[in-house]
Symmetry: C2
Subunit: 211 residues, 2 copies
Amino acid sequence: MKRKGILVVVSGFSGAGKGTLMKQLVRTYEEYALSVSMTTRAPRPGETDGREYFFVSREEFERKIADGGLIEHASYCGNYYGTPAEYVDKQLAAGRDVILEIEIQGALTIKERFPSALLLFVTPPSIKELRRRLSGRGTETQEVIDARLRRAAEEAEGIEAYDYLVVNDDLDACVGQMHMLIQGAHSAPVRQEAFIDHIRSELEELVKGEN
Amino acid sequence: MKRKGILVVVSGFSGAGKGTLMKQLVRTYEEYALSVSMTTRAPRPGETDGREYFFVSREEFERKIADGGLIEHASYCGNYYGTPAEYVDKQLAAGRDVILEIEIQGALTIKERFPSALLLFVTPPSIKELRRRLSGRGTETQEVIDARLRRAAEEAEGIEAYDYLVVNDDLDACVGQMHMLIQGAHSAPVRQEAFIDHIRSELEELVKGEN
């Protein structure tokens, strides 16, 4: 029986290292595909269309919404961000697990629409380390750091909605753990429906056959 | 932060190979302890008290129930079977994952009492293989085989209550997968409550500290 891919949603505190983890995961294992979001914000220097984002106009984005072509979308600071359905559907059908970075509200929307989606929450090993990482970039003002900490405190309230909490201490160890969790998730009954149906109908036939 | 053990419940069709899997798991990895059940049935030739079962009298068993000394218990063919709480509690507190074989009703009782218990359902790769294994023992009458198939059909209705469905095709591969699933389960929020509380209180303090 051909196995379907899992939609894997990755959320976590700013500074937890989500982006690096996901890139490393996709580079290390061939069973994963990284979903690329669509946005109406302008590309920053060094960003390429189709790599960091699909950059589109407001009109194109709104047409996409109207056509049901986005799995989820949200608006930040006057720009749209969303997940194109086509790429995700194609990869899942081909048996690849699709990794998607998204904040908590979007993650909950996805879980509602795809009950078999797997939700991972990434956290640094400690808040001290989170603070160090946020400050360590050296590019942010104290106000920005404080705003991120407040945001992190809010996000921490939602952790129970996630399937797994992944602690990012060592990059390679953490990527290995994410891989293990995603592969393990294929064995959950919600992702084995075809096999379970098959077993049930075979057993029923055998039991009927007795009489 | 010291990690607590997980109570791992293993169920599955008769003939799925649960007993062999569990023994191999405990032999291969040192983080597991096998729970030994208590029963009022008489020991069979070759069975040792404390290894296959704790063999006790009806009076002792009923005193154990009255004292709350059993996690769960049930009655089959006029004999009691139950799980002594003391051993399980001690091993969990010491950080070891405790493996417990039990049928579906008992598994559901345990999940209610221990929401952080992990429920694994073991199945052979196909029903054809299940039937072959049941017949292959060569020691059972057709009536017994048929009764087991009917029982399997009933049990199959409960698979969704389990966290994972484990297909026992190759013994070593299956033991490796069980190990992966149990280790992964430590990362679920329900088993990370202390860490999550810690993160939340640290974040709250930092946010308060700003003002």
